[in-house]
Amino acid sequence: MCLGIPAKIVDGPNDNQMAEVDILGVRRWVSIHMVPEAKIDDFVLVHAGFALEIISERFAAETLELFRQMEMPGTEHLEPLELPELPSQIGLQ
């Protein structure tokens, strides 16, 4: 449950510290109260409609790929992200 999902800020922030983000292709408005310095095009970790921290773009892309591999609820329909350098299996088993 205590998991932040990477998202990109695509609009805002507005006067009420809300910003529109793209999360796995879904757009919604989230609060940026906890990251007041966040701005458009930043990547943030989002949990329950709130941005928790600003993160790098590459970390965001890799984490989204991980969620897909973990079969997180809500990611079943997603196509694999285009990250050709990543192996599809870690291959430990």
């Binding site: 919604r28 970790l45 890799e62 790929e65 990543l86 430990l92």
Partner: protein, 366 residues
């Protein structure tokens, strides 16, 4: 850590090198515990237990907030949903968790207005849309979730909402680790510390583990190689006779955490004693809504008396949560209790230890 190193966090070669390093380093027999449901799933799914040397035992602790919620608290939520004029909103994870006699899913089937929301802010919006109902947000979760509910309470006050309140069942992690460390049934030699809880609180609140108890901890990310790195850093501390709180997950965690989030938690909530399933009451690990926000506290607005608590017969979820037994050591696991017909919360929640073991391993299949 620079970005161009990040590719290595998925590289099988990097994983194998870390496994080799763990084997070389883990000379001391050690029991390491993770306390985060996402770590539970990452370890089970990637078969990390199977590649550990004999010297390392991995335990899953009370990292699933749904699982550690006490029956009495679930009973209070259910009783609240039964009151007239109430719409109870919560995260999807809470729906199927059994209380003493029912679950929110069963209450919904019986006609109570129970709705799943993605964010407490959605719950606020619902309250504005239905002024003739009282909308309750049932909040569970650790420090990652607590500030989102704290900010929602503050927002409700700012908007002057009269028909919304929060039933806060939040718990805080560090003092629970003290209770586990003091548990005579479980010897823990190191903690794999949660990534996004620590995004909020940083590393400082865990320091007593190292200083008072000599138990090291490593704040760890969620990729398989992250988890291996955390285990390796713990093994290294043991081998070198050190006990420190280290951050492996520097991509998302700073030592000071997120000070804005910590401040808002402290502004809206005060620490109280609270009951954890299987562990009992742990002083100061609950978060109660402060008196100045009482009009947004469901316990004040919609007081209820829950029925007498009843524990689930034969369920050892509590022993699983404190690491006293592994999931497959429960008599019900894989027999009476399976994900299709779960008996205890550790099998109900997708990130519960029992569900993770059942889904991803062959242990204990009858």
């Amino acid at each position: 850590m620079t970005d161009d190193l990040l590719g290595g966090f998925r590289d099988p070669e990097h994983a194998r090198a870390l496994v080799d390093a763990i084997r070389e380093t883990a000379v001391e027999p050690s029991t390491f515990m993770e306390v985060c449901g996402t770590h539970t799933m990452a370890i089970a799914k990637n078969g990390l237990r199977g590649v550990m040397p004999d010297t390392i035992k991995l335990l899953s602790g009370p990292g699933c907030p749904v699982c550690v919620t006490a029956n009495v608290d679930i009973d209070i939520a259910i009783e609240t949903a039964r009151q007239p004029g109430i719409i109870l909103t919560t995260f999807g994870d809470m729906m199927k968790v059994p209380g003493s006699y029912s679950s929110l899913a069963r209450e919904k089937a019986d006609g109570r207005d129970v709705r799943i929301v993605y964010s407490p802010l959605d719950s606020l919006a619902l309250a504005e849309a239905v002024p003739d109902k009282h909308v309750v947000f049932l909040g569970v979760g650790f420090e990652t979730t607590a500030p989102t509910v704290a900010l929602s309470i503050r927002e409700a006050k700012r908007r002057g909402l009269k028909n919304w309140s929060a039933l806060a069942l939040h718990k805080t992690v560090p003092e629970a680790l003290r209770a586990l460390t003091n548990d005579p049934d479980v010897q823990i030699n190191g903690f794999i510390l949660p990534g996004h809880v620590s995004t909020i609180i940083g590393s400082e609140p865990y320091r007593f583990l190292a200083e008072e108890y000599g138990v090291p901890g490593v704040i760890t990310g969620f990729e398989p190689v992250d988890v291996l790195q955390g285990i390796w850093m713990l093994a290294k501390q043991r081998a070198e006779g050190r006990a420190e709180i280290e951050i492996a997950y520097t991509r998302a965690v700073m030592p000071e955490g997120n000070p804005v989030a910590v401040r808002v938690i402290e502004e809206v909530f005060e620490p109280v004693d609270t009951e954890w399933r299987g562990i009992g009451v742990i002083p100061g690990t609950g978060l109660a809504i402060r008196a100045e926000f009482a009009e947004y506290d469901t316990r004040v607005r919609v007081p209820v008396t829950p029925p007498e608590t009843r524990e689930i017969k034969g369920c050892q979820c509590g022993d699983v949560l404190r690491g006293a037994i592994l999931p497959f050591e429960c008599k019900l696991f894989g027999r009476a209790c399976v994900p299709e017909h779960p008996i205890g919360p550790c099998m109900v929640s997708s990130e519960g230890s029992c569900a993770a073991y059942y889904r991803y391993t062959d242990y204990g299949r009858s």
